[in-house]
Amino acid sequence: MKIQWLGALSAGAVALAALAAPKAEADELRIGFLMPVTGPLAQIATDSINGFKMYLDDHKGQFHGATVKFIVEDTQAKPATAVLKAEKLIKQDQVQMLVGGVLASTGYALAPVSTREKVIYIASIPASDNLTQRDADKYPYFARTSWTSSQPSHPFGQWACENGIKKVVTIAADYAFGYEVVGGFQRTFEACGGKIVQKMWPPINLADYAPYISTIKTDADAVFILPVGAGALTLPRQLAAAGIIPKMRLIGSGTSFDEFVLPQLGDEVIGAVSPLHYSAALETPENEAFVKEYRTKFGKVPSYFSENNFTTALLFDTVMGQTGGKWPGSKEFLDLLVKTKVTAPRGPVSFDDLRNPIQNIYIRKVEKKKMFGYPNDELWNTVIKTYPSVSQFWTFDRAEYLKQPPYTRDYPPCKYCE
């Protein structure tokens, strides 16, 4: 009798315990996705949304059991609107995190919102250096899944110098992104013995570069370009028409020849070399699968914008896998995120403690060829060299690097310009 009682009691206790135990219940994960859906950057927004959505759709809208509510808001490419929409997402839709932004100015506008509201902001595109460098302490709820502008430039300067380029002329858009990309390149290129002999800063969205092209010092070996907007298509064409290329080698920022513009560029860019943390022509199983699925679904080769957001989703999914689909809280999520390592289409991605990715930087050369079994000859960014696990500080000492001023229009100064 007694034993039966005990048995019943213990059975009841077990049942009660099972009821009371915090079942690892799956949560709803609400993600506010801020993108310039209308305006001059609409195509970038589409690529980004498609990248994230593709991962989400592949996983039936769930990250390890957590149902993802994916809310896209239009920033109209204006920082002030981005802030308003971010506050709407936080206060009305109660999102657990903000993702996105394209321009550096949007990134700078959103980072303080994350600090103020204690809501995570993940920059899946904005690359402005200081967000994860000199200003990182100000934004404890901020992390980046993309890159810093100068991150690919540092190894590229080294590469250029080691591959027969001695004198370079730069033509880069006149804003912070341009300064940081060129600054990073100049620093390592000149440290290795190269010379930047001329720096030109045409305004962004310039369509006609003729006045700049006519002043190019043609005794240099290469011209480094970073056009933005309308100029992305015209600058290489005008350089070719003026005979500058192929006389001089064409190099530039990874964005200048990204798959985003590559199909519209002409054969004049064949041979152009640029660095980035992604190339659609990467021959890894992850990337091949990614490119093929993306192209089938959206009818075009993915750009780095697509890949960055796809990988952002992959990172989130991985973190949610560690928590069993439960939202762990903002700080905890961020802590888990920066400890996460994934193999993305771009290659292995991990984070430094300033919450910026450590990733491969690829030196890519534009070639016309067939890839992944597609029937036509197309322009692809063939990877000719891989610098593995590059951090935002390259090989520099971090403390010393951070003591230096940020790259600007006049820093590093142009020692060899006349």
């Binding site: 920082p79 802030v83 506050e87 709407k88 009305q92 506008a109 402005s128 912070a176 600007t408 229009r409």
Partner: protein, 340 residues
Amino acid sequence: MRHRGRVLAALAVMLAVAVVTPHTTPFLLLLVTRILILAILAMSLDLLLGFTGIASLGHAAFLGLGAYLTAILAVRYNFGLGWDFGLVILFGSLLGAATAAVFGLFALRASGVYFLMITLALSQCVWGLAYRWDTLTGGDNGLNLPGRPVLGPIQLGDDTAYFYLVLAFFALSLLVLYVLVESPFGRSLVGIREHEVRMRILGYNTWLHKYIAFVISGAFGGLAGVLWAQVSGQVSPDNVTLTTSVDALLMVVLGGPGTLLGGVLGAAIVLFLREYLSTLVPWWQYVLGSVYVLTIVYLPDGVLGTLRRRRRRARAAPALGLALQPSRGKELKINEGGIE
């Protein structure tokens, strides 16, 4: 007081907004705060466009200067984060006025489309400064404010508190501008709009009148800028672009030039369609575009302007009999003279 009904109606609406808005959604609260700030800008432009008859494409400059002043003082000098925010508001308005005083010397030598071009060029200069002087302005990246001021026990960081502050300044601006346009000075501005030569022959120094109107307009633009910097917590060259000037102009045209409150209505329509509708549907731009086109075609005097003309016509028709059709447009405005 003339227009007693109108004043009472405006007060009632304002009171309703003050009471209802904080109880709606947090997003609406933020949006209405922004509407009120841009309404100040639109009203300041209406003083020129609607009352003086000169269209300026440079109002982004005043907004931008006020905003940058606030941000620079806060970021570089830690100034304006407490009660000294009152001084920032004063300085912002003064800076707007001072800039207008300088711009006015150039711009008011011309009129019509040339005035438009000169104001556009001058505001582009301000944009250039904001964009290029990056040691001071942060260049393209802009400046982030350290947070809204704390006034003793009142945390302006709280959206409701800030909303009331903005509402107070909005009411003050409306009051000052209303008194101004109803004053003899305001009447002479209307006179200049209708027939500048006649005013000059009557002995008015029309240039000085326009100049003073321009300076006052700049002051309110600067005020709007200070409030704007704190609402979004950041300032970037984007605030100073041509688009901002064009927006202000559209708000006035949409609501009804020469009505003051038209600018408020215009600001509300534009921001609601652009910021609120865009959270609901992706085709909001078509709606906004259609509203612009339909307003220009069917309501050439703007929403409020057309409403007012209708009412006047309805009132005038029985008195004048059917033989005298009230004429449209300019002449009617002179006869009535009662443009608020």
